[in-house]
Point group: C2
Chain length 430, copies 2
């Protein structure tokens, strides 16, 4: 932990810096993977699965039987939990659907927007020790709500060629249309280019390691969109003198356990709360079953004692956290001060893990300072908003002169003529 008491404002820009990632130059490897997948399709995927994941797979596509058997492998307790989360995430994301509102900007000139689902989307779910079925909820639910026709999911298997049953079960109940046993950069290449079995998609969502991240960036060269730029997960907690150090410590650690590159920042204005939270963090850390990652993450993390809440919000906006927890009694009053954050948790009972799993908000959020210029995933991420306009004859008569004058001033005479020819014909007819 890096402990900073009343740091000078001049030093803040150093404090808000993210740890620099040693990102290797992966372009060559990624180019090769895309080229292999383009050339050899599914066979390339099977070969890469074997080479990178040590998994011998016969069929790249997950069968109905596998999905059905997954359902029998998970407990009713977990099914119920997933169902409550699904209901909440559905309710919140459904509320993001905007009704079309027609605006008559000039008499006879009516403009509006309509949503259209992105027809084909791809979801990547990483492998590893934590089976992220919660991320399946966060991405497949809004995709289905938006009306995406094809919702493809790729995820690596274990060495025996199996996918965690919670992932399969969640994918099924959230309307994923096809699941494929492929991970890493080759999965992204497959969803970008298409293979015999895997359809190409228009937008790719989901987290992943540095190879996946690099492959998603590379996919954009093929006109595929991606959810957002990537970075390690992070939380910033602001505490007042009424905050509960045990809760603050637990929240900081729940972020720290994500990975050694996770970052946690704690801002307090009360020295006692500040010191107690540091102590409590160390204490709880020891009790965690797998504390190596969290311990590593804490080494890069800042505990900062500040003079005022105003300073804390100034610092937080400069940092632009993915998750922002306000352990403040009068949090309402501070909401307008929040400029940059991915998702905000208000008060002592709004722990980050509520939003990670089940409250209803999305957990795919902008990290690495990207909350300055990006929103998290929402229903909007799965639709395009198309603008429409309808001008009646009267509308064009009311607006035509303006268009003609502006087009001429820009030297675009065919633009002007598209109006003139219509107005002229109208006049002739009158």
């Amino acid at each position: 932990m890096k402990i900073n008491t009343y740091p000078q404002k001049e030093s803040w820009s150093e404090l808000v810096k993210r740890p620099i990632l040693q990102r290797e130059k992966l372009t060559e490897l990624i180019t090769e993977i895309f080229s292999e997948v383009e050339k050899n399709g599914d066979q390339a995927l099977l070969d890469f699965n074997k080479k990178f994941d040590g998994a011998e797979i016969q069929n790249i596509k997950v069968s109905e039987t596998e999905i059905e058997s997954a359902e029998n492998q998970i407990s009713n307790e977990l099914k119920q939990a997933i169902q409550q989360a699904k209901d909440n995430i559905t309710a919140f994301h459904a509320s993001q659907n905007t009704e079309k509102e027609k605006i008559e900007t000039t008499k006879g000139v009516v403009c509006w927007r309509e949503n259209r689902a992105i027809e084909k989307v791809g979801i990547y779910i990483p492998g590893g020790t934590a089976p992220l079925f919660s991320t399946v909820l966060m991405l497949a639910i809004p995709a289905q709500l938006a009306g995406c026709k094809e919702i493809i999911l790729c995820t690596p298997t274990d060495k025996n060629g199996n996918i965690n049953p919670a992932i399969l079960y969640t994918a099924k109940i959230c309307g994923v249309t096809q699941l494929f046993k492929v991970g890493g950069a080759q999965a992204i290449a497959a969803m970008t280019l298409g293979t015999e079995n895997i359809p190409n998609v228009f937008k790719i969502f989901g987290p992943g390691n540095q190879y996946v991240v690099a492959a998603k960036e590379f996919a954009q060269n093929y006109n595929v969109a991606i959810d957002m730029p990537a970075g390690p997960s992070e939380v910033l907690v602001i505490a007042d003198e009424k905050a509960i150090p045990e809760f603050c410590a637990a929240d900081l650690l729940s972020q720290a356990e994500h990975g050694s590159d996770s970052q946690v920042v704690f801002l307090a204005t009360d020295e006692e709360i500040f010191n107690q939270t540091i102590e409590e963090t160390e204490k709880q850390l020891k009790e965690l079953p797998r504390n190596e990652l969290a311990e590593e993450a804490l080494k890069n993390s800042h505990f900062v004692l500040l003079n005022t809440q105003e300073e804390a919000f100034e610092f937080s906006n400069l940092y632009a956290p993915e998750h922002l927890i306000l352990a403040l009694e009068d949090f309402e009053k501070y909401i307008p001060k929040i400029q940059n954050a991915g998702s905000v948790f208000l008060g002592n009972y709004s722990c980050e893990s509520a939003g990670d799993y089940a409250s209803g908000t999305n957990h795919t959020l902008p990290t690495n300072g990207f909350s300055k210029n990006y929103s998290g995933v929402s229903l909007d991420s799965f639709v395009k908003k198309i603008t429409f306009q309808n001008l009646s004859k009267e509308g064009l008569q009311n607006l035509g002169k303006t268009i003609e004058i502006m087009a001429e001033a820009e030297g675009l005479f065919a633009h002007k003529n598209a109006v003139s020819i219509r107005l002229k014909q109208e006049n002739e007819r009158i």
Copy 2:
């Protein structure tokens, strides 16, 4: 013109292909420009202005005097036209502001979203023969509506160091906070990195040549967001047997005059309308004062005769046009068939130039097939939507078990503990 009568569906994928752009590898040049701007700041900009644009400029920043004098240089007629356009664009973009809606997903668990403006945005307006003051309207109006604190505009000058007065005037009335005399990749570098005079921004908007496009892509390496991927402008017109060939031809030409790489596509189901529109296009082309660009663009453009309107919409969705004009009597009925388009113009009096200038919709739209996965610029482009959640004690009691079960199933014990520690304390207190 490429004329295709009743092409087989198998050939459509060829017909919807965009002309391949010979985009040079600009990475080296762009890297050098960014590096120079980072090292030498404003002086690098002045040097590049001289080198690339032949403009000797003393002060990179546009003065108040210059802005005031611009106001005197443009006619009242043009001012009134700009004002009508501004009013319409303001009305339509203001209507895109969504009220926050609080959703109680589980008793005691309340979630909502709030908009926050991106604090600092940059607008690039290209130089050249057409002074695109309309693009200033399209980008500065939503930026100001969103509440962006800093709205920076960069545009190149002519050889005498002057900016077209219509650009200066429009920037002033739309709330641009600072204007700078710099164009090309160096302008993008300046807004990305910041110089003595030019602030760095969080998101960059606006069109430009291949150097500007490459620089915007490069800016993303510095965590700056951009409006959308770029491509040449395009229109697709669908006409029925009641369409008016003169209007269709005028719309096709208004797109074609944008540049030699513009693409126009005409789809008709009536052979007479089809042939008359081809004739009319050739006739109107000859009458245009500057027809070289339009003529060049038409060479790459497709006129396609199809059997049914259903086919036309299938073709259009495959093409995914930036602008889609429905010269159809019963256009209402076809709206649900539109899947991919940037902006749609309905009926005989909704010419594309209405949306380009003054109806209220935005003219910064996804081209090059990007309407499959991107929306055009809107108020949303200038804000982040931050999610908020507040769980009461009761809320956490109602949701806590679900979070604990899911966190444990993902092997994330600190996530579980953040709930358990709170529920435990509650139980102890009860």
